[in-house]
Symmetry: C2
Subunit: 315 residues, 2 copies
Amino acid sequence: MEHIADRLVKSIKDKKSPIVIGLDPVYENLPTCIKSKYSQDIDGAAQAFLEFGNAIIDAVCDIVPAIKPQSAFYELLGYRGVKAMEKSVAYAKSKGLIIIDDSKRGDIGNTSKAYAEAHIGSFAIDGKCIREADSEFMTVSPFLGLDGVQPFVEAAKRNNKGAFVLVRTSNPASALVQSALTEAGKTVSAELAEYVAEEASKNLGIMGYSSIGAVVGATYPAEAKAFREVMRQSFFLVPGYGAQGATAKDIVPFFNPDGLGALINASRSVIYAYKNTCSDDCSTDELKDVTRAAAEVMHDDIYGELRNSFKNLVY
Amino acid sequence: MEHIADRLVKSIKDKKSPIVIGLDPVYENLPTCIKSKYSQDIDGAAQAFLEFGNAIIDAVCDIVPAIKPQSAFYELLGYRGVKAMEKSVAYAKSKGLIIIDDSKRGDIGNTSKAYAEAHIGSFAIDGKCIREADSEFMTVSPFLGLDGVQPFVEAAKRNNKGAFVLVRTSNPASALVQSALTEAGKTVSAELAEYVAEEASKNLGIMGYSSIGAVVGATYPAEAKAFREVMRQSFFLVPGYGAQGATAKDIVPFFNPDGLGALINASRSVIYAYKNTCSDDCSTDELKDVTRAAAEVMHDDIYGELRNSFKNLVY
């Protein structure tokens, strides 16, 4: 079976695009053309989330290798929202996209293992699989320590899936925990980076990359080079471009010189682009066109900057 | 409306019980009397989780003030598992129990806000509430920093609900992140404790306690006194008693001298007690009896120790 890290590398090269689009459905922000089709109740909201997500997927599926549904927004609708997310994930998979389940789960022992199998694994009765998660990657929160992260890494290896461990997040107050100094005199982020590098080295595809990666926020470009040197074989999932303020220039140091090793995420700036250019009663086709155009602008911005910066870009 | 912290205090006093039972449904561990009723597929597993959870709730609802469903185990069954958890929560609520949703969510900004409203809040369209979460408390992971925790605290205040922020967890490797030193020269746990204390002081019930609390593991009794001094008005949610090794003596320093301020959790040692005493084909009534007996043993152990230790116990 093809290693999931190889599939990710190939998809980035094929589409010439190291970009992820975040699915962050917020009811108030959905266009009227979608909301007006459904009842104003919890079932109607879940249907609207699903249709909106699928429209975004249609719009970007041949421009980007991956999408990143944000579970928080789906959970807001309870189990019906979770069901809508599962359906969107299945739809994205049918369109050839790689799915990064941005659920930032984290616990210890068997609880972490259950989260991992729930999101990037499967559930079996008497050895017979009765449910399989469609997502290929998930994000993992390491607050409880490495014994809490290890079950996610093991599930990723066991299931040919992947995990992005939160190492340095893009928000202003991330330093409190992430820049604190461990017993070894390193920052928490630095220790986590070493752990990710070690686990990545044990789980490589034939193209030299691992499916054990890190979340490293684009808002800290100064630290990117150091993280890149430690985690050479890992992909970074990089939030912070677009609505959070980072530019294409800012994200260059997150990549290896081959133009691989980073996935730049944008959510609101692409999926709600329609608000800047369309009237609220735009059609679904117009929504898709505008979303696609916004994703293309992002693509050209980032791909252009990578071509300028790296002579040995492999795509 | 009664402040949720006052309701918690009253319920502890009424039941003379500062105890929480964790709902950790694991299919292999469920008794045959429940599993055999349902098909061996995902719907059947979800029904078995629900029936098992409700049996536990029946068994302990007049001995303990609260239950703590662990979302990881439910998520393993996908949206059907989430639905089963929602139904168990509603059932527990109907039995007068307070519910602590142990989902350890954590993100930033609007994403944290969505998680908070999903688990201890509501979802509205045009100002009309169309879904309300039944849980009173949730656990919150602070890896991303205090700007990521604040939306949970604000939602708790807005909705008369509560949050337990992870401050010091019970697992062996928790020190890596939680004992790291911040810029101010304090441990991450100590800084989080100060934050919790500050937010608690702004959200007090008339009985002197707050619904903004902390998760502090029973496996670190030496630190309990210091945390207790900082977070006088907060409840501690204390995992680690029972299966994880902490004894009743160990958990005394987690309480204030009034016998309040801590909720001791046990999960496996109570909900799977039937495995030690029953044959696998026990009846549901036997399951309930054994579970109830295990909860009573735990209650007597802890309540006895508190009565020995505190002259001014208020219950």
